[in-house]
């Protein structure tokens, strides 16, 4: 039981981190960035970079590299399309992830590869009478630390304040001199940090790396952002946590025969949430943020 709680918390934390990366870019640009999945895949690939350096180097390389990739992505693919239709942007971002995935297939081969990262975390520890995996604890700690640090950035730094203002009212922010390019770049860079962290944690948990590893996380991130409440970062984190917990709790509560249908059940709950609270769990019905 305790083990399940930690499993749920760990998955919830991972999903929350994934969701925040997506929610950030959405907040500033109203763009649901599918290519976030490609960022995660890049992050995972960088963990397999050659050389025998100690693992913190790879982790930092991964996060930093994804950050750069995110900035490049914004500059090359999204800036020319600023102001375009929502569906154009969506398809572009999807084309990006498919394209980058194909590129990765060519460069790295399309089979899954095993990656042994953070080997010191592969064991478990006895806690509260159960055996808790170290990686679960690490995931929770990392996710929380990242979220706290980012919260501080948003609240206390000038750029963070500009990001918050731009997320609420981009047009007005520009009228006060907030530079559109800078704020968007900041959002992408931060989203890159989240993606990189999610990639490291994901690879550490599953031990494998495939070119399409980013697709499922990005879908989860999207769903989490929407059920949490668009335009709210707290909502996105909450949505991720809820999805993670559901993903662990539901199979545990279901009879064996119903196990194969767990995805169907989770997504039925997603639809129900959207029907009952179209503005999301945290969303403000009056804010006019139309879902």
């Amino acid at each position: 039981m305790i083990q399940h709680v930690f499993d749920a918390a760990s998955l919830g934390a991972l999903y929350a981190v994934m969701a925040l990366g997506v929610a950030l870019v959405f907040g500033v640009m109203r763009l649901m960035n599918f290519a976030y999945g490609a960022l995660i895949m890049i992050g995972g690939s960088l963990l397999r970079a050659p050389g025998g350096a100690p693992w913190p180097v790879y982790v930092l390389l991964s996060i930093f590299g994804v950050c750069l990739a995110a900035l490049a992505m914004e500059r090359i693919a999204f800036r020319p399309l600023r102001g375009a239709d929502a569906s154009t942007l969506l398809v572009t971002s999807f084309a990006l992830v498919i394209g980058l995935e194909a590129l990765a297939s060519i460069l790295l081969g399309s089979r899954a590869k095993s990656v042994n990262i953070l080997p010191s975390l592969s064991g478990s520890v006895g806690l509260l009478g159960s055996s808790i995996a170290w990686i679960d604890i690490a995931t929770i700690v990392c996710a929380v630390a990242l979220m706290v640090a980012f919260s501080a950035f948003l609240r206390f730094s000038p750029l963070g304040m500009q990001v918050r203002a731009a997320s609420e009212d981009f047009r007005m922010a520009r009228l006060l001199g907030v530079r559109a390019n800078r704020v968007i770049a900041a959002a992408f860079a931060a989203s890159g940090v989240f993606a990189g962290t999610a990639a490291v944690l994901l690879v550490a948990q599953t031990g494998t790396l495939t070119p399409s590893m980013g697709l499922t996380p990005v879908l989860i991130a999207f769903v989490a952002t929407v059920i949490g409440g668009m335009g709210s970062l707290y909502g996105a984190a909450l949505g991720g946590a809820v999805l993670g917990i559901l993903s662990v709790a539901l199979p545990a509560a279901l009879p064996v025969g119903a196990q194969p249908y767990r995805n169907a059940m989770i997504f039925t709950i997603v639809i129900l949430i959207l029907l009952v609270r179209p503005q999301g769990l945290v969303g403000n019905a009056i804010s006019g943020e139309r879902i």
């Binding site: 304040m161 203002a165 609420e168 009212d169 520009r174 009228l175 006060l176």
Partner: protein, 239 residues
């Protein structure tokens, strides 16, 4: 100081401005009045750089600002206070004001300006840490004007600042604008509240259906019979 020449702006197939020209002299207060949908907001958004006109020219202090980005136009000295206030509701009053200082490079002077504004609008000091969304309409209007002033604009542009305010707050707003003008800021004002704004204006323009229909020196316009009939309503007596 500001010269708009033959501006044409459309939203797709709908023409909002069909050849508008006006001037704002340095240190003056210009009012643009007209009914809803006349193109007043479109005019202001174009000046602020948010809309790109198809035809026409906008020059500020002699240089063309056509096609420049909004965040650059602020740095040149034009600050727009748009219609419906647009406070950042999730940010505190203090943070809203701080955003006004984004373009300022002179920290000390900016901080001094902030203190001055908090003195002039005491409610802003009082509600400093409250989310801006919790303020009343009148208080929000004071906030957005103060916020725009923190940019130290040479030209302050306002879109219907009296909209939705009770008469007491309307007076405060107009008093503020008059004193700003006295202190040297040029003001361009768009209003539905024609009488009061034209009264204090040096020059006024009447816009309807995307075109300027009348223009004249403020007080004289109010005396004009044609204006009174057209705008203040048939049967209204010119002053």
């Amino acid at each position: 100081m500001l010269e708009v020449t033959d501006l044409h702006v459309s939203y797709g197939p709908i023409s909002a401005l069909r050849g508008v020209s006006l001037r704002v002299e340095e240190g003056g207060l210009v009012a643009v009045v007209g009914p809803n949908g006349a193109g007043k907001s479109t005019l202001l958004w174009s000046i602020a750089g948010d809309l790109k006109p198809a035809v026409g020219e906008i020059a500020f202090a002699g240089d063309s600002i056509l096609g420049r980005r909004p965040e650059d136009i602020v740095r040149l000295g034009i600050a727009l206070v748009p219609e419906a206030r647009h406070v950042f509701s999730s940010l505190t009053v203090r943070e809203n004001l701080r955003l006004g200082m984004t373009v300022r490079r002179d920290r000390r002077a900016a901080a001094a300006d902030l203190r001055d504004l908090e003195e002039r609008f005491p409610v802003l000091a009082e509600m400093r840490s409250r989310p801006a969304g919790t303020l009343s309409g009148g208080q929000q209007q004071q906030l957005v004007i103060a916020r725009a002033l923190l940019c130290r604009p040479r030209l302050l542009v306002l879109d219907e600042p009296s909209l939705g305010l009770d008469p007491h707050n309307v007076t405060i707003v107009f008093e503020t604008l008059k004193s700003l003008q006295a202190a040297g800021t040029t003001v361009l004002l768009v209003e539905q509240n024609a009488a009061q704004s034209i009264e204090m204006a040096d020059r006024a323009y009447v816009i309807r259906n995307g075109l300027i229909e009348m223009e004249g020196d403020g007080a004289k316009l109010l005396d004009d019979e044609r204006f009174a009939e057209m705008y203040l309503g048939a049967g209204a007596v010119a002053r």
